[in-house]
């Protein structure tokens, strides 16, 4: 099951560039939350702070607190521990090119030293079914490389890979922006199904996509969160003038 995320006074820097300023936010459990905003507004940096990926950049720095469930991720645990509880799907599909489809899905477990063959088989099948890819690949699980799939299939493979470590939260950084419309709609259907089991945070440039998949939407601008509310309210009756300007296409 998913857990809620409580963000308090979060600030983040790239070198001297203050990319996130005083973010306070509650992301509800088992819902999809969309983050929108123009390029460079800090929404990607924000999701990367939720699984401590931001600090893998040598000049990245974070202050403030993020609680995922009852865990303060910046004080109570190591980065690798939190990344097993918070899965991430990236903008471009990034399957491991030397691995088969099966090994891609099993990678998270195998590389963390887990190797019970029968259980792995079950996890791989369940994850691929959850990411709606099972029927397309079940016959060449170990024969084909992950890189031999189409772009849309690769992205669903990456979702399966993230699901296989049984996370509570799924972060998606523009998961459909490199895909064609058909693949995009498959990914959106998937998000719809997955949000009953996981807390999903999705960054998107596509406002229709945010409106379609998310219950809550946050609008980011210049490193600050301008507005956070129900998706319906953000798109029909935003409180802030800047949000209205953005969603009506006056800038961005």
């Amino acid at each position: 099951m998913g857990v809620g995320i409580e963000v308090t006074n979060l600030n983040a820097w790239y070198g001297t560039n203050h990319t996130l300023q005083d973010i306070n936010l509650h992301i509800p459990a088992n819902h999809a939350t969309a983050l929108i905003g123009p390029s460079g507004c800090g929404k990607s940096t924000f999701v990367r702070c939720l699984n401590r990926m931001h600090e893998t950049n040598p000049v990245g720095r974070v202050t403030g607190s993020v609680r995922i469930g009852d865990l303060d991720i910046y004080n109570d645990c190591k980065p690798v521990q939190i990344r097993r509880r918070v899965g991430m799907v990236f903008q471009r599909p990034n399957p491991f090119p030397t691995m088969s489809i099966y090994d891609n899905v099993a990678a998270g477990l195998k590389l963390n030293g887990y190797s019970n063959g029968r259980h792995l088989d079950e996890v791989v099948e369940k994850s691929l079914k959850n990411s709606a890819l099972w029927d397309e690949v079940k016959d060449d699980l170990k024969k084909k490389s992950g890189a031999s799939l189409s772009g849309g299939q690769q992205q669903r493979l990456c979702i399966a890979r993230a699901l296989a470590v049984d996370p509570e939260v799924l972060l998606m950084d523009e998961p459909a922006s490199a895909l064609d419309p058909v693949s995009t709609s498959k990914i959106e259907d998937l998000i719809f199904q997955l949000k009953s089991q996981y807390t999903i945070v999705i960054v998107t440039h596509n406002m229709q996509q945010a409106a379609r998949v998310a219950e809550k939407t946050g609008f980011f601008l210049n490193g600050r969160m301008v507005e956070f509310d129900s998706t319906h309210k953000i798109f029909t009756n935003p409180s802030d003038k800047r949000t209205e300007d953005y969603i009506t296409g006056r800038f961005g």
């Binding site: 699984n51 990926m53 893998t56 690798v80 521990q81 939190i82 990344r83 097993r84 509880r85 899965g87 991430m88 990236f90 471009r92 990034n94 399957p95 491991f96 090119p97 030397t98 691995m99 088969s100 990678a107 998270g108 590389l111 963390n112 024969k143 084909k144 490389s145 992950g146 890189a147 031999s148 990456c158 890979r161 993230a162 470590v165």
Partner: protein, 296 residues
Amino acid sequence: MNTQSSNLRSQIRAVTDHTVTGLAIAATLIVIAPLIAIFVYLVYKGASSLNLAFFTQIPKPVGETGGGMANSIVGSAILLALASVIGIPIGIGGGIFLAEFGRGGKLANAIRFTADVLNGVPSIVMGLAAYALIVVPKIPFLPFTGHFSAFSGGVALGFMMIPTVCRTSEEMLLMVPHAIREAALGLGVPNWRSVLSISLKTASPGIITGCMLAFARVAGETAPLIFTVLGNQFWSSSLNQPIAALPLQIYVYAMSPYDDWHRLAWAGSLVLIVLIVVAVSLVRYVTSRGILKGNS
């Protein structure tokens, strides 16, 4: 634009196209011509002296005809195995440090510069260095030192492999997309594990090519062996003794005044080249099995 001038233009384009294609083909031929010429000449000069005795017997004393280079073939194999055991792990380890851990740091820059300089050091100097450092002095607790030995030659060749292996490993690791490393980190995989299981594996075809290049380069080296392994006319497979090696034997025979030895030197050269090709092909075949090929 009228039809005539557009016709002329398309003709000029066609001529340019053919000229450039022709130049590219010519350049390719010039590149492979020496290789083919060498190989054909070696077969012409050496093949006639190849017989069973060449692969089973050791050199005959001066004045007697016949004999073979069996001890040199075995000696070269031992030297190259030792060189690979030293050069490949250290080289790959250095490449991993440069690409994954020391990126942009002062230490990494110093190592990279040193490796490049080492790569340019003439092989005879490498031999002299080994001579001065481990052949002449007896190093306490380090066996095989203090005299001419197979060990010292393997060390000299191994250190010649390090810069090539190190720099190609670095380059190949840097070519591994950042997105793939992030994918591994995002799954909660520790960095060291990601480097070993993801980056190194993804870069492995290129790294293996680098290792094979370094291997093939030192396989034909003669100069570093003169001051270290010395050569041996008899059977020896001991790391503690002077040992025979194909390039050394070829050098000795080619410099001799005897026609029979000249023929053996040609045959030895042919065998050396064929063995290098076989070894490299074998490694490529073995390491390419089990790697799944992606279409994209």
